[in-house]
């Protein structure tokens, strides 16, 4: 009877434990519900996260592969160095790009992207296309670009007109380029044309006849000579003499120079040093020919220069000589030894002067220009922006067409037959165009000249190769036949091209079709008019109201007069007169030709592969 001995105490203890159990149960119930909910929702969330991460890595891998193929394709297209396989690291991933030749004109680029073991592969097949890459509104060779007042290079339909020049760009008031403007720097020492040993002093201009000194050299490459460097010191303070480059005349300097610059006396000290002499207009030297560097000094017994020479004629293909006056007739006297000099070939340091550039400007030196974007330069003055020196000077770019391309076109034209004599207005039988008439022609080689004027039309059904000159004016038209479709056609002249007032150069009528007019004439580079060059002493002279064409001269100047409107222009040198405009059309960048060799590589197919 123990349990009822003190019933009150039993009851109260029961009640206490009952109360505790209810609370514990409630807490446990909530705990289990919460746990079930947390675990139940955590696992799908984690799974989702894993899926999303895998998806992101897979996409990264894909884009890494894409980047790899793009890089390899760009390098092949632009003829840049490409290792095989090329391995690149991008963010956290890597891509290995393998390039295999399927045939001489076809390549496979396979990129395998790998981001966190997620592999995705992209295969790009490219073909050596029959196209040329006219990627600039104006691409200019070593001769450089000269722009007159208000001359403009722009693009159609919102596009910009970019300019690339291997030579200097010189503008004028209102000269405008709406796109990016790049001027390459090319200057390399010709190590075969130098003498750097200093053993003996040659006193220049102290006593007669040791006044004008000359040193001969033979350049190893056919390139412009833009700088020479002389190992000189001075005594007293002589005035700055001229340094001339002359051709050779029977083992001595000629009495006329091909280039001239000043040796600044202020740069010379009383101890020997290499003093640079840069030529504002680099002169084209021919490899293997002999040239002379001549100092044209004055005479002063207490103020003169000292040019160092070696003692044993160490330079095999050069000698040192002196004479009282280089430009008068008479013989030179040879010294023992070669005067110390260095030569630098290339078009020199890139400069942009007095141009309004809407995009980025990139050159070694930019002066007096207004830049909309960034001015990438090493030195500059008078600009609205300071130089951003973060980028190296741009390297020269090759012309979009090679000599082999042009030769192939000549061959293609000749294969279609030869017309002996002139064509066009007063052409020979079979190649005459009646007044306001139309003649379809090509592929054909014409041994004479081609003249199309006064409403006449020449329709190209193939490549036309003119051995003489091409002259189109007064509503004369040269166009591609409609059968070209979106392809472009080609007309080549060994002589000059003159497109006079209202000359029409047209494509087939389909978008993307252009007429490419090529002149291969050499040496017509402006200046004094010479026979055998077009007006303005140019290789191609393009006058008023000209419409729609791509012009190309590889070795001469293109001269553009008022209001000429072009799709694109490529020349060794380009002169834009006042108010001229080049209106670049983006389609020109991938101009395709139905004949001739490829100017670049085009994509045949793209595929994502396993």
């Amino acid at each position: 009877m123990n349990f009822i001995h003190n019933p009150q105490s039993v009851k109260s203890s029961n009640r206490k434990s009952n109360r505790g159990a209810a609370l514990t149960l409630t807490v446990l119930l909530f705990l289990f519900i919460s746990l079930a909910v947390v675990l139940g929702s955590a696992s799908p969330v984690l799974r989702d996260l894993k899926n999303a991460q895998a998806l992101i890595k897979s996409k990264s891998s894909y884009y890494t592969s894409e980047a790899g193929t793009e890089d390899a394709f760009y390098r092949i297209k632009k003829g840049k160095q490409l290792s095989n396989p090329e391995v690149l690291s991008l963010n956290s991933g890597t891509v290995s790009v393998a390039t295999t030749d399927v045939s001489g004109t076809e390549k496979d680029i396979i990129a395998s992207g790998d981001v966190g073991t997620n592999d995705r592969n992209v295969k790009l097949t490219i073909l050596a296309g029959v196209g040329a890459d006219f990627a600039y509104g104006a691409q200019v060779g070593d001769g450089g670009l000269v722009m007159g007042n208000n001359a403009k290079i722009k693009g159609t339909g919102g596009a910009v007109g970019n300019v690339f020049s291997n030579g200097p760009i010189t503008g004028a008031s209102g000269a405008t380029i709406t796109g990016d403007t790049t001027v390459a720097t090319s200057l390399n020492e010709d190590v075969q044309a130098r003498s750097v040993v200093c053993n003996a002093d040659q006193l220049v201009g102290k006593t007669s006849p040791q006044i004008d000194f000359g040193q001969s050299f033979v350049p190893s490459d056919t390139l412009p000579l833009s700088r020479v460097s002389l190992y000189v010191k001075k005594v007293g303070s002589p005035s700055s003499p001229s340094v001339k480059i002359t051709q050779d005349n029977a083992g001595s300097p000629k009495t006329t120079s091909v280039a001239s610059a000043t040796l600044l006396s202020g740069n010379v000290t009383t101890s020997y040093g290499w003093i640079d002499v840069s030529f504002a207009t680099p002169v084209n030297l021919v490899a293997g020919d002999t040239y002379w560097i001549v100092i044209d000094a004055g005479t002063n017994a207490s103020n003169y220069f000292v040019w160092c020479s070696d003692s044993n004629n160490g330079l095999g293909n050069g000698v040192g000589k002196y004479k009282s006056s280089w430009s008068t007739s008479g013989s030179w006297t040879q010294i023992t030894g070669d005067l110390a000099f260095k030569t630098y070939l290339g078009s020199g340091t890139g400069t942009i002067t007095q141009v309004a550039v809407s995009g980025n400007a990139k050159a070694n030196t930019i002066n007096s220009s207004t830049i909309g974007g960034t001015a990438y330069c090493q030195t500059g003055s008078g600009n609205n922006k300071t130089c951003d020196t973060s980028q190296a000077d741009p390297s020269p770019m090759n012309m979009p067409l090679s000599d082999a391309n042009i030769e192939q076109w000549r061959t293609d034209a000749t294969a279609g037959g030869t017309i002996t004599g002139n064509c066009g207005d007063s052409g020979v039988a079979g190649c005459v165009i009646s007044s306001s008439g139309t003649l379809s022609l090509g592929p054909k080689k014409i041994t004479g000249n081609l003249t199309v004027t006064n409403g006449r039309t020449l329709k190209l059904t193939g490549v036309i190769y003119v051995v003489g000159n091409i002259s189109i004016s007064n509503n004369g038209t040269v166009r591609c036949d409609t059968s070209f479709g979106a392809d472009s056609c080609v007309i080549i002249a060994d002589g000059w091209i003159d497109a006079g007032n209202n000359a029409n150069f047209l494509g087939s009528g389909t978008a993307g079709s252009y007429i490419l007019s090529v002149s291969t004439i050499e040496g017509c580079n402006g200046g004094t008019q010479t026979a055998g060059c077009a007006s303005g002493n140019s290789g191609a002279n393009l006058a008023n109201n000209l419409t729609g064409a791509v012009f190309y001269t590889s070795k001469s100047m293109i001269n553009m007069a008022n209001n000429a409107e072009l799709k694109a222009v490529v020349g060794y040198k380009l002169n834009l007169s006042n108010n001229t405009e080049i209106e670049y059309e983006q389609g020109v960048a991938d101009a395709n030709f139905s004949s001739g060799p490829g100017g670049g590589w085009n994509v045949k197919s793209w595929k994502e592969v396993q």
């Binding site: 079930a36 929702s41 799908p44 989702d48 998806l55 793209w606 595929k607």
Partner: protein
């Protein structure tokens, strides 16, 4: 038995009963509510997952096939309206020309490869209420924009979301 009567008299009073019942009621309601809310949230989560995985499968497949295609067969495709249809001209792994077609049937997007039906590329718990294909093109490039409104239903809860993508055809240059 005075002791027994004294125990009985010490049982739960009416007030105690009412208070206990009330507390129990409140706790039960709270617990049920919490459980229901959690179940709903869980269902919601699963629907979102259904939607996402279905859309991912659909869009990844379309993206991959559009990229690889070299042309769009405009005559066989239905652009700009619902239900849309997309007929792509493409090449298989061996390089032979074939077609890939995306079309809507039974509220799901199905795929046909070379004319042979390959079934749906969406999960069974989802349906597409709008599938619109648009074509963008210029002289050089074609692109396809796909818009899909996808719904999923589970335990009486329905969720709808819009998905978009635009892909450029890479098979042609």
């Amino acid at each position: 038995m005075p002791s027994l009567s004294s125990i009985r008299s010490r049982g739960f009073t009416l007030v105690e009963m009412i208070v206990y019942s009330a507390i129990l009621g409140v706790v039960a309601v709270l617990a049920t509510n919490a459980t229901l809310a959690m179940t709903r949230a869980f269902t919601d989560l699963r629907i979102s997952r259904d939607l996402n995985s279905s859309a991912t499968a659909l869009f990844e497949r379309i993206t991959r096939d559009v990229r690889g295609a070299y042309d769009v067969d405009a005559a066989q495709s239905t652009f700009d309206t619902n239900p849309g249809r997309l007929m792509l001209s493409t090449k298989d792994s061996a390089g032979t020309s074939t077609t890939i077609e995306f079309y809507v049937t039974g509220n799901r997007v199905n795929i046909r490869e070379g004319g042979a039906d390959q079934g749906s590329i969406m999960t069974t718990s989802t349906s597409v209420s709008s599938f619109i294909v648009r074509q963008l093109s210029n002289t050089n490039t074609k692109a396809i924009k796909v818009e899909a409104i996808i719904s999923a239903t589970r335990g009486g809860i329905t969720k709808t979301r819009n998905f978009y993508t635009t892909v450029v055809l890479r098979g042609t240059y």
